[in-house]
Symmetry: C2
Subunit: 209 residues, 2 copies
């Protein structure tokens, strides 16, 4: 069971890859250029070089599922939100369907299901995530959609909540997201499920039941 | 058979409304504020005030179908492309499904099915149109998707083509788009169809067969 990680060089992606390597869980890191390779090879992680805006079909071969944790980030404009967070995700879903993968695990965002309820500044980004999630739900591939709250760099506690009403915060550490993704990668029975994710008081296995 | 026109105050929208009024075809123009009303009332066109980023449910009542020809236009940023061209369209589709309308006619764009094949500058906009079209295809409502080429203000010839290979240009006049939409509004047998639209040599009824 090999997992392709799209966005492997991001902050969540690297933590996820490192955890998987440590646990002996097979994974292929999709990265954009060879400058990013040494870190992965030092950690014993297989890489493939491909671009969300380019041809990426070969990256998917001989994988069983994909985790999409790519994002254009807060320092680029909404143009890149459209091309990466929205259309890059759409293209990844299309490739996964074409190649016949078993499952697509999408990192979305808290409140992506209701962008206009969020603060104005966040709405365009959440609209992109809404549409990418909708595209995945409609595609012919089983999916899991994980919707983390505001991301922090706090240490991973591995204690989470999946509902704002059970959480004391609207935040979640990137480490906890990485642990949740590692769990989801192995929880093959989870199909067509969606979870919010916040720092909380439950173990990941209990929260993502 | 009443048609709700979303984006009625745009350049295509106004021409469409005027043609419909002249032909006695029932239509309701959705506009953003009361300053826009006088022009419509002078032409005998029913209006409803609603906003794609606000509550617009009442605009849909007692209509049978919707034409979506709204767009944030070239003078706003990609933020508005996400909120209007993408998420506004998505919300309109959701309302149309909820209210149980018979058909959704979407004005998309030439090459929306392959954004990365277009010049770089156009790609973010086409990615938004791709995702809006995909959302509509997946929704529980019959649809028609019209994909005009580069829009001009040339006079309407009512002569069009639906394939680049049959057209002498990649352009189409807004007047020809308005005439095509008026035809589609009345061509109730057309469901789950998609057409490119360019200036050409065929009558609209022959081209949109």
């Amino acid at each position: 069971m090999k997992t392709l990680v799209i966005g492997a060089n991001g902050k969540i992606g690297r933590q996820l890859c490192e955890l998987a390597a440590r646990g002996g869980i097979p994974l292929r890191a999709m990265i954009r250029d060879s400058d990013q390779q040494p870190w992965f090879h030092e950690h014993g992680i297989e890489t493939v070089i491909a671009d969300l805006e380019g041809d990426m079909r070969q990256a998917f071969y001989a994988c069983d599922q994909v985790i999409f944790t790519a994002g254009s980030g807060p320092h680029t404009g909404a143009d890149k939100t459209l091309l990466i967070d929205l259309y890059g995700a759409i293209r990844a879903v299309d490739r996964a369907v074409e190649v016949g993968l078993e499952r697509f695990i999408m990192v979305s965002a808290l409140r992506a299901s209701d962008p206009l309820a969020a603060p104005e500044k966040l709405r365009p980004y959440l609209a992109a995530k809404f549409a990418a999630d909708a595209y995945l739900r409609c595609a012919r591939i089983p999916h899991v959609i994980l919707k983390p709250g505001r991301l922090t760099d706090e240490p991973a506690t591995r204690q989470v909540a999946t509902s704002l009403s059970h959480a004391e915060t609207n935040e979640v550490s990137r480490g906890n997201v990485a642990h949740a993704l590692l769990y989801l990668a192995q929880a093959r029975m989870l199909k067509n499920r969606e979870f919010d994710l916040l720092d909380g008081q439950s173990s990941i296995a209990m929260a993502l039941l």
